[in-house]
Symmetry: C2
Subunit: 229 residues, 2 copies
């Protein structure tokens, strides 16, 4: 059997990125997990990422520290309240939007892919249960890929990086179903924007509500801990 | 007089980025300088950036710490010797190439522009005295701009960011001439890839040689300190 090719997988430790990592493995890659510590208030996310990386047996797990707090401007990096129980189908981009976050994350993934000789980057973005983030749309991902082809030595030499978005067109229910089929233990994952000090999910932010609704629809109990559900 | 609009200027403290900052000011913007501490061996570069930002009276100077060393893969971040006295017109991308560096820098500038309400990002890339970096070419910059229009809330709302590259088609001689006309003190700037501990330039790396040759052609003495010139 040939040695598996490396692929970079952006891993927050949440439900979507964990499922994406399991899919990258199932696709036959040797995943290199890449996580970011960016002054997010939900730093418990990183503990989740570490648990997930260990459980799924990645080739390498790299945690890069960013300091987006110097910029301000988002509920996830500055001192702004996370909205609770809002209308999920309401208009506009929510306050939890972090400016250019996926561009910063993918730029690092691009650098790492080039250094490790990988040509594939996985990101768990989704346009179905989409909560209004511009940098989760397929047209954004396609534009990043075109830019990436011109940005690097590998690109110039004809080895274009592919941004793989296996969750793009799946509903949250389909994502969880796929992950369960691949043996993902969702008890290890955290999706909450506003967990408590011991890492229990709030149950009321957009992310918790989408997740809980999907598990309910599947008739499965979400194994992650919640303050209230 | 209207309040000047903010513009983000990527500032390394070298000759090109300093001239770019002076041009952004001359264009009527209130520049916000953005520098990166990325484990570069030439950390004296940052001292240069601070001196330049102060001398040119920027509205704000933000230094963001990156840890590209975790990735390895370049003479500027890892323990690889900087090439000296090589053929500047030789083929290929030099070892001093840092994977996806401008993409990472511009991604941060994009985030900062959105948070500060700016629509202009200046970067001192150049395709004439081009030393082989893929992410200094106009087609790369254009692709980044197209991606940026899809990446952010501002972009979605129709406020597209413009990546301004005033040095793109200038020779090194023309860049210095332009800077001198704008009153830039090049004694504050450092361009060397391999300076000594007190910040003197080596005089032999690609960057030193291009710079020294241009000053010689202008009949002006480069006011920066060199170990040997």
């Amino acid at each position: 059997m040939a040695t598996p090719e490396p692929a970079i997988v952006l891993l927050s430790g949440g439900l979507d990125s964990t499922t994406t990592l399991a899919i990258a493995k199932a696709d036959g890659f040797a995943p290199i997990a890449l996580s970011f510590e960016y002054g997010q208030r939900h730093a418990v996310e990183l503990d989740g990422a570490r648990r997930v990386a260990t459980a799924l047996g990645v080739a390498e797990h790299i945690v890069v520290a960013l300091d987006l707090r110097a910029f301000g401007g988002s509920a996830l990096t500055a001192d702004i309240a996370v909205p609770k129980d809002r209308d999920l189908h309401g208009a506009g981009i929510p306050i939890t939007y972090v400016p250019a976050r996926n561009t910063i994350f993918l730029a690092h993934a691009l650098a790492l892919a080039e250094v490790r000789g990988g040509r594939d980057i996985y990101i768990g973005v989704n346009a179905v249960d989409y909560s209004g983030y511009p940098d989760c749309r397929p047209e954004y991902i396609a534009a990043f890929e075109r830019m990436a082809a011109l940005a690097t030595r590998a690109g110039v030499e004809g080895h274009h990086v592919r941004i793989r978005t296996p969750l793009m067109s799946l509903t949250k229910v389909e994502i969880i179903r796929r992950g369960l089929a691949l043996g993902v233990d969702y008890g290890l994952t955290r999706s909450c924007y506003d967990p408590d000090a011991v890492g229990r999910a709030c149950g009321h932010c957009d992310s918790c509500r989408l997740r809980l609704a999907a598990f309910r629809e599947l008739g499965v109990t979400d194994p992650a801990p919640y303050i209230e559900r």
